[in-house]
Symmetry: C2
Subunit: 80 residues, 2 copies
């Protein structure tokens, strides 16, 4: 089973990477960019075939390793 | 208009970050993880309201800054 985990900074948490991209886009002449935030996406291939068990395992992976839940939100998406 | 740009390594390109996550998940006791790849997601808020013009601008941003097209693929998603 394939899964995607989206990890994004919580609203209000400073995003220096996003700010750097925003600044660089401006320097390259792109007008009208109002905000930029950068997150990450982790694609996993799991041996598990049961959706509920896969989701439970992914949730635990997010809490233990993939996301820092103090400053980040995560969303789990099973793609097949 | 809001947009998401997904940047992922092309198949076959070595992904040390993904490998590190894979290894760490194993060390934490998660069994049955077969592959891990990490990509990034860039969320942009654009002043542009025309979808076609927004997509064209985003495509140019990807080619010029957001993605390294030698080793990365990108996908543009307009979310409103």
């Amino acid at each position: 089973m394939k899964a995607k985990v989206h990890v994004t900074l919580k609203p209000g948490v400073l995003d220096p990477q996003g700010k750097a991209i925003h600044h660089a886009l401006g320097a390259l002449g792109f007008q009208g960019v109002e905000e930029v935030r950068q997150g990450k996406v982790i694609e996993l291939e799991l041996a598990e075939t049961d959706r509920a068990r896969a989701e439970a395992a992914l949730d635990e992976m997010c809490r233990k390793l993939l996301a820092n839940t103090v400053i980040e939100n995560y969303a789990i998406e099973l793609t097949d």
